[in-house]
Amino acid sequence: MTYPLWLIPAIPLAGFLVNGLVALAAGWQRASARTAAWREAHPDAGHGDNALRHGDDHGHDDHGPALPYWQRLFHGVVGVGSTGLSGVLAFGVLVPYVRESLASKDGLPAVVETAYHWMSAGPYVLDIAFRLDPLSALMLSFVTFVGTLIHLYSIGYMQNEEGFGRFFSHMNLFMFSMLTLVMANSLPVLFIGWEGVGLCSYLLIGYYYDKDFAVAAGKKAFIANRVGDFGMVLGIFGIFSLFGTVDFSFVDMARQQAVNGGAPLSVYAVCLLLFLGACGKSAQVPLYVWLPDAMAGPTPVSALIHAATMVTAGVYLVARCSAVFVLAPGALTVVAWVGAGTAIFAASIGLAQNDIKKVLAYSTVSQLGYMFLACGVGAFGAGMFHVFTHAFFKACLFLGSGSVIMAMHHEQDMRAMGGLKPKIPQTYWTMMIATVAIAGIPPLAGFFSKDQILGAAFGAGHPALFAVGLVTAGMTAFYMFRLARMTFFGTFRGSEEAESHVHESPATMTVPLWVLAIGSLGLGFLGIPEVLGGHNTLIEFLAPSLAVSHPHEVSNATEYLLMGMSVLVAVAGIALALRWYGAPGATSEVPSVQADAFYRKTGFLGPVVANKWNVDEGIEALVLSPFRKIGNVLWRGFDALLIDGVINASAFMVELTGDLTRFFTTGNVRNYVLTMTLGVLAFTLYVWIR
């Protein structure tokens, strides 16, 4: 290693500072120029007129770029450059590490590098330290790679936005936080990154800060994550009480079962608390509600933060602490069932969404459920494998949907699309590759990772979990081909004017799409199972970081059977989607929710699913409304009546006393003298008779 690891997150941080300061200065200049122009146009307007305080910070319409060319160039170069440079550095350390690790028999030990002495409490010392081991190497590879591609894509996607610089500075801050998260050598440092990505997620969901829905979605994400972070913090405390340390040496201690028996929290409770944190960040039931709303942010944000990287942090956390989770099998069962439940639940909602990004959002929630299902049955390696492949095909899908949305001039409703295939061929091809990958058709990436999860669930003796996963796989194939069918095939359903404006995206967008599509095509080969003649390279590589990588072996015949089933189910899903929504060439009208084939053909389920199982309404009725009522009671009963009452009563008593005694002030001097004399007399008497 020739350069320090801390440079990898530090470079995007520098990019954030540079981009942020320049964007801020340019924004001020723009605002004052605009105010001056407005004053010139309205010479009789008084001062303090704030009509033009906030200009339109983002040109939605295609009236061309809002910023001068040199500014966009600067922000783009700094934004993409800092991310790319940190990616180059990351691969510079990764490649030798991975190569040597694969060459040696038991893998290399973790490389830990202390950057800064953070704090010490008595004999306990906590450092800001970075770690390179197989698990963080895997995360590092796709976070920097996919991150750089998405930054590059954003240059094209955001070109007409006035908040271009702000966007890139926040994206860079996100890269810094995410890299800190995956490279941290202790839970507190991981938590810095954890909160940092949450902050950036909030900032970028609320990018269109003058739109109410975006602001509300940002707040929702932040608050739902607070619930999870509460568990996360308690979990860190619990780890400390169990092992006496919070740096990742506790993983080795857990492997040797060196647990403090007298700790106030059991291993089971600590695992559940950590998993609560993971649920918040990775959008698992019941905290998943923020992720679909997070689609209010720009599409590259959805791709980077809400599909490829940040939302997998929960899976990473569980995998990182896998040795601890293994000590509490009950907690692992909870993880598995929450994951499986989320997978099928979110997939069912995705079946009937009409917003192209919403379909992908529910798909993401569902795939994250798969990853937790894998972790829950002890197949942490398979879970991380799916994290890895998912990052590629889901980022490709999101970026593709962004390209579609841009071609459609910010129309996201698939009912107004259709027949886009010949108009935007590059987007079509890349998205189709990713769609086939996520649907689990061999030999694309999604097939291998999904198949390993299903195989592990079956092999671990959970046929029910396997069945849920299998059904979800079918649903995944269905909704993805429904999306493809409604978007690319058939005839155009929007207005003629909209049709005439459909255009292919610029090269900064199509190049990342192609790279990601190739990744979706080929990266599954990193984990070819042994039964197909491979070595399961990726999972072998990860093994030193994880508790168990091969929980249970099943016979080759069973494995072939499982693969066959998963492919069969996927093909069935695709076939059903094409049957219900018409073969690729057919024309069909899908003007309303009710006319949607899924809505018509599923009886009572259609309306419920189309309304997302009424979860938001249920939360409103079961949680928010009671809380609001309690708040009302506390406000009116406790605060207004009791607290204010005591304060007001004491003030009233003072006033009353004053009113009653003011008449002693007669203004007659001799009265005062008399009063004083009587007082002295009384005092003397008191002293005398005491």
């Binding site: 003011r662 008449f663 002030t665 007669t666 203004g667 007659n668 001097v669 001799r670 003298v673 008399l674 004399t677």
Partner: protein, 114 residues
């Protein structure tokens, strides 16, 4: 101090019983108090207060003598000093008052009330 002069001083003081000083002081104080309560002329009230203060001074001296404790005499010095200052301020107030209202009758100066 020669024995003769100290004996003479002792005789002259002993000629009057200490209780007499107390009686005189108390009577003076009562006169002063009555004056302060009953008079309308601010100047008269002021004089009455001065009378009360000097009555108290007398009582202090008498008690100091009776107890053989010089602290009482010390207090008297303080009272005299402060009374001088008070007299200066009080008289200045009356002059200013008279200029403003053309009277020093306290019953007519009753505008500071509820």
């Amino acid at each position: 101090m020669s024995p003769a002069t100290s004996a003479a001083a002792a005789v002259s003081v002993m000629a009057v019983a200490p209780q007499a000083y107390l009686v005189v002081g108390t009577i003076l104080f009562a006169i002063g108090l009555a004056g302060a309560l009953l008079k309308r002329n601010a100047l008269s009230i002021f004089l009455s207060i001065e009378l009360m203060m000097n009555a108290v001074n007398l009582l202090f001296l008498a008690y100091a003598r009776m107890r053989g404790d010089a602290a009482g005499q010390m207090v008297v010095f303080f009272v005299i000093a402060i009374a001088a200052a008070e007299a200066a301020i009080g008289l200045a107030i009356f002059v200013a008052l008279f200029r403003a209202r053309q009277t020093v009758d306290v019953d007519k100066i009753n505008f500071l009330k509820w």
